[in-house]
Symmetry: C2
Subunit: 198 residues, 2 copies
């Protein structure tokens, strides 16, 4: 039974995941969006790319069973399982300082982009600028005509996804601190993860 680790509310965590290992991300309370990134451990300029994954799959959002690719279109992760209804987002960027300032918050409001940087810094790593995140459980339906809505998650408490590394990776998760709009049901909470061996 792998040790389950906490992602504290509004914080990020980075984990080294060797090829063949997998990371389980758990939506402990079912209401939390978790922004997710993966970087090639040998070169952080090679990372999980939402735009290239959309083109490879010819689909806006990956499903369990899909292979996710990096910014060179090479297979990086197997999206091995998903116990949730599968409502995730790839079209909205991670929240950042600019987002919260425009929403009227203080400059020091936590953000997923800041959490990514800090989580990697704790491993003495520097993130490349602006990688798009795979926004787990973020519920952004595309309406006919292309308008986007920002809704609450539809996950159940304890729902989880598993990503298996096809190359040595650094995977990063941020328990999204968005508390102005209602994507986290208005109250950002913690999430969890577990490193699974092959």
């Amino acid at each position: 039974m792998p040790a389950v680790q906490e992602i504290p509310a509004r914080e990020g965590r980075a984990v080294k995941v060797s090829r063949g290992q997998a990371l389980k991300v758990i939506n402990t309370f079912g209401t939390q969006v978790v922004d997710f990134w993966a970087f090639n451990a040998a070169d952080l300029g090679t990372y999980l790319s939402m735009q290239h994954t959309r083109a490879t799959l010819s689909r806006l959002t990956p499903h369990a069973g899909d292979i996710l690719v990096d910014n060179w279109r090479e297979p990086m992760l197997s999206f091995e399982s998903d116990t949730s209804p599968g409502v995730h987002d790839t079209v909205i960027p991670p929240c950042d300082r600019a987002r919260y300032v425009k929403l009227g918050c203080a400059e020091e409001h936590a953000s997923c982009a800041g959490n990514l940087r800090q989580a990697l810094e704790r491993l003495d790593l520097t993130a490349p600028p602006c990688p798009a995140s795979f926004n787990l459980w973020m519920n952004i339906p595309v309406l006919p005509g292309g308008d986007l809505e920002w809704r609450e998650t539809v996950a159940k408490p304890g729902d989880s996804v598993v990503f298996r590394a096809l190359v040595d990776c650094i995977m990063v998760m941020s328990a999204c601190p968005q508390d102005v709009i209602r994507i986290n049901s208005g109250r950002p909470v913690s999430a969890q993860y577990a490193l699974l061996d092959g």
Copy 2:
């Protein structure tokens, strides 16, 4: 009457556009996808961002009248006019060498990512890696359920879009060389542009 310039088939062009000036991009034959980027002339690490523009507009694809933002969520371009039916794409990345190799083409097949690099190099500039493009006239409908289709353009010959610079910019266009799938009606052709003063 501003001088109309050619974007030769399968090639790219970069243009300095000062604040207040505008660039008109013309779909000469109506069948051509033109990948488009804009960079802040003072810092090429600041560029038109499709993901931040989607979030700012709460829409998948900008319409004429919208303000397009950079990767710091700051206004960069005014999407001033569009004579076409407004079918453009923001979710598919520019084609690149990896795309064509996977499609069975030779490594030297032209690509929009390569055209971006070469067009900027002709101005002694270096593009940051992997900026998402605004794919003018690319017809990628999102089906219910999120599947994407790759269709031919719905533009008419001579349709055009106009982007006005809100900051000093380098704008780059690539006449997409995709000739394997049918997004350019199977035959990549030239397009045109014109620099418009304020």
